[in-house]
Amino acid sequence: MNRDKTSKRTLVTGVIGEDVHIVGIRILEYALGEAGFKIVSLGSQVSQKEFVEAAIEVNAGAILVSSLSGHAETLVPGLRDRCIEAGLNDILLYLGGYLQIGETPWEETEKKFKAWGFNRIYPPGTSPGKVITDLKEDLM
């Protein structure tokens, strides 16, 4: 696939699964928009299929998945494979929110979700500035 700079700066955002927490991702969308990214917002309760379809349609550089309900462990595995199947070989996958129930050390959580093919994982309280910096670096 031939991806120009503009499409690389297009991001698909959404909240996965049955999850309705919308405030965090709205704030990120705003900050990312201000920082010059083009945002394709899918809102909340988005399925893996919808994320992938939207990413193909707009030729996105990254998919930003939010999950706060505590069900991420069952909701996100398989997303990377779907992307590969759909030919989105080098798309970035970011994941953030409240990623599991109970008190697991952050390093473990990060390791687990990275193994499922996510490039970066963000905990609650993430500053939008950090995400912008990371995206700029990863999309260079």
Partner: protein
């Protein structure tokens, strides 16, 4: 669908009911006559209405919060612990989010997985899956009343099973559920399912069983009080029509005490006025208060400050329920220790406060009351105008038109044109009033208040400021 504000006939109700109970296998356990008899056998200390009445009589507010585990055993352990160690007077069943979406199959998987792992992997108690018999074991194990907590576009089966099981209060709130709990369900559908559950409550009431419904209108982050208040007022008229007799209004406060107290005062006053206007004469109301659900503090020092503020607000607002998040709110689903610990703190704060006559500056409260009352009247009058006097029809049109609106709706059909922001004292004002039908006086007031903060901060208030408002409490301040 005939969507006017009229009471469902028994026929309509019982016809719809067959379909509802068929949604999951536990539906057939529900026998209304048996359930009514069961409720009548409950001692008053296990029933929400008398317990809330007692709180009112004593000028006390009881801590309430979400509590939900995957299995009956875990749920019993949790609730009895909170009763004993947290000195709780009022308990809750938080329903897991699969059940809220009526995905009972997935909830079933969650129960199995939780049993296997020996720890709850669900974020709440799957009421439907455990059925009437499951919950009866819970209500038998405790000494306090239990209220349901959830948000669902279709709460019909949850309520059928929940009430038959022995819950004596619930959380059926159509606008809240439409805006915040689903992204793909039409408002008409949500109003219809809620009409059903209100009618169910009405049926229990007709048979002498007091159940307490509740209503918050919308989740309050970034929203000035007139909007949730208008959303509450239109809905309590719908509830009352179906025969609901006991309603707990819930207000999400922002920590600016004059505004918070004004919200409570005006809401109680206007509710009485609208009940009277539409001929509902025997509604008993209660109040609960919680800090608006913004980002909560991660570290316990400030988390306790939030419990403190919540308790103070509940006291000053004259609430019967102090709806608090545990000190672990920002960390994840609280452990039973987190909840007990938080409850105990709130209980002792309340003990120290309950007999004390403290109040917010009455001039400040009056100034806030005057504004919020005007704003609410503008909105509700417009809703009723839209519906030619019918509140259901009017509400549906008003939501489409953004006359009832919300900045952070999950449902994409919502205009989401309004946005609130704090003024320099921490009261929340309209930065953007979207399509709210406000007078120029109102708009000028909000503009001036926002300008005061702009002047103080030396910059235009914008979305960035809003972000800082949403994070303020987690940083231990009211406004930055």
């Amino acid at each position: 669908m005939d969507l006017r504000n009229r009471k469902l006939s028994e026929d309509e109700f019982f016809t719809e009911r067959q379909e509802v109970l068929a949604q999951w296998k536990t539906g057939k356990e529900v026998d209304l006559d048996e359930a009514i008899a069961f409720h009548k056998s409950l001692p008053p200390h296990k029933v929400c209405v008398p317990v809330l009445r007692q709180a009112k009589a004593q000028g006390e507010s009881y801590a309430i919060t979400g509590m939900g585990k995957a299995t009956v055993e875990e749920q019993i352990e949790l609730l009895t612990y909170i009763e004993k160690e947290g000195l709780a007077n009022y308990l809750g069943t938080t329903v897991d989010s699969f059940s809220r979406q009526n995905h009972y199959q997935e909830a079933e998987k969650g129960i199995a997985e939780s049993m296997k792992k020996g720890r709850s992997t669900l974020n709440g108690f799957p009421i439907v899956n455990h059925g009437v018999t499951g919950f009866r074991r819970v209500i038998e194990a405790v000494q306090s009343p239990i209220s349901m907590r959830y948000g669902a576009a279709d709460p019909r089966l949850i309520d059928e099973i929940g009430y038959a099981g022995g819950h004596t209060a619930g959380a059926e709130d159509a606008l809240m559920d439409f805006w915040h709990h689903h992204s793909k369900v039409a408002l008409e559908t949500v109003i219809a399912t809620h009409r059903y559950v209100h009618r169910l409550i009405g049926y229990y009431e007709e048979h002498g069983v007091p159940l307490c419904a509740s209503c918050q209108g919308l989740y309050g982050a970034g929203v000035p009080p007139s909007l949730p208040m208008a959303a509450i007022l239109v809905q309590i008229l719908m509830m009352a029509e179906q025969g609901v007799k006991h309603i707990r209004y819930h207000i999400a406060t922002h920590g600016h005490l004059p505004q918070d107290v004004a919200t409570a005062d005006v809401l109680r006053k206007l509710a009485r006025e609208y009940y009277a206007r539409f001929g509902y004469h025997d509604i008993e109301d209660f109040l609960s208060v919680s800090f608006s659900l913004v980002q909560y503090p991660l570290e316990p020092g400030s988390a306790f400050a939030v419990v403190f503020m919540n308790t103070l607000m509940a006291h000053l607002c004259g609430a019967q329920a102090n709806d608090i998040r545990t000190v672990a709110e920002a960390k994840g689903i609280p452990t039973k220790e987190d909840t007990a610990y938080t409850f105990r703190t709130a209980k002792f704060m309340e003990n120290l406060l309950k007999t004390q006559k403290i109040s917010v500056d009455p001039h400040d409260v009056e100034a806030e009351s005057r504004m919020v009352e005007q704003e609410v009247r503008c909105i509700v009058d417009k809703v009723l105008e839209f519906g030619d006097g019918d509140v259901v029809v009017g509400t549906i049109r008003a939501v489409q038109a953004g006359v009832l609106d919300n900045p952070f709706a999950t449902n994409p059909t919502s205009p989401c044109k309004v946005m609130g922001i704090k003024d320099k004292g921490g009261a929340i004002r309209y930065l953007n009033h979207g399509n709210l039908p406000f007078t120029n006086d109102i708009l000028t007031f909000h503009k001036e208040k926002i300008e005061e903060r702009e002047k103080k901060q030396g910059k235009k208030l914008d979305y960035d400021t809003l972000v800082s408002d949403l994070l303020a409490v987690s940083r231990g301040v009211l406004v930055e």
